[in-house]
């Protein structure tokens, strides 16, 4: 029952991504192309998602615990460090090349399209590289 609830939440997310156009690389790349074939739609996706989440979180996080778990697991870090900025910069470059972000591509796996499979496979390779690199240099691995 608990897992079914989580499955439905994933379904709502995947349906939202499908309707919004976030899983369409042409649309995403046109959003970035301010000087060319600009399509501002994705600003409305972000606006809609952020508006609902902002007010929803305000209500929910006043409670002492979530309904089916014991604690709210919220990130506690507030420091701005190089991995955050550098990693986000690299993510944006990859997003600007491929047109897929993880949240856009994972639901799109359900379409069975080979381009999505290729992107997600490459994404997993990238994650594996990022987990391995710091270990190779004997430093702290990113979380």
């Amino acid at each position: 029952m608990r897992l079914f609830g989580i499955y439905i939440i994933g379904l709502i997310f995947g349906l939202g991504i499908s309707i919004s156009g976030m899983s369409n690389p042409a649309k995403v790349l046109n959003f970035f192309d301010i000087a060319g074939t600009w399509d501002p739609s994705l600003a409305f996706v972000m606006g809609g998602a952020l508006g609902v989440t902002f007010f929803g979180y305000r209500v929910i996080l006043k409670r002492s615990a979530p309904m089916f778990d014991t604690v709210f697991r919220l990130p506690a870090r507030t420091d701005i460090d190089l991995p955050l900025v550098g990693g986000s910069a690299i993510f944006g470059i990859g997003w600007g090349i491929a047109g897929f972000c993880p949240g856009g591509a994972l639901p799109a796996l359900g379409t069975g399209r080979s381009e999505v499979l290729i992107f997600v496979a490459a994404l997993l390779v990238g994650i594996a590289i990022a987990k391995f690199l710091p270990r190779a240099f004997n430093t702290t691995a990113p979380a």
């Binding site: 989580i6 939440i9 919004s20 809609g48 993510f91 600007g96 949240g103 381009e115 490459a122």
Partner: protein, 147 residues
């Protein structure tokens, strides 16, 4: 490197789809106390801390993948996926996204939606950074290198 495929401005689908993304983020926090970040959920599938930690992540990913099928049931077509780039570029882009979101601790859903909704300064810096480099990358590819 990129073909130009023009897309129509679709503000209502964008707002409606965005609101559903927000609803899912709110429900996951309300029910289970978790941030709905695609990066974090996926990374946890690869490196689970326990069996229960693994199963909820697989459940939400399966739900996400069902989204396009429900879209198809209502609209009669799968969501449009138009790919204006070559396979090698898709692979390079995917690897960069994977490296970036891992070091940056999140992507559009985790930082751009959930993090900004919490007024997290880390998420604000991350979101401004990846939006800026996304715009810069497309500008360089399409207008300097000449698509």
């Amino acid at each position: 490197m990129q073909t130009i495929i023009e897309t129509a401005f679709t503000p209502f689908q964008a707002l409606g789809g965005g609101a559903l993304i927000g609803l899912a983020s709110v429900l996951l926090m309300a029910g289970y106390g978790r941030i709905l970040g695609a990066t974090g959920i996926m990374a946890g599938v690869l490196h689970p801390t326990s069996k229960a930690d693994w199963t909820w992540r697989v459940a939400i990913l399966l739900g996400m993948m069902t989204g396009p099928l429900v879209f198809w049931m209502f609209s009669g077509a799968m969501p449009a996926i138009q790919v204006p780039i070559s396979t090698p570029m898709m692979i390079i882009g995917g690897i960069l996204v994977g490296i970036g979101v891992t070091f940056g601790s999140g992507c559009t859903s985790g930082h751009g939606v959930c993090g900004l909704a919490r007024l997290s300064s880390r998420s604000l810096v991350a979101t401004l950074t990846f939006m800026a480099t996304g715009v810069a990358t497309v500008f360089i590819i399409r207008h300097i290198l000449g698509a």
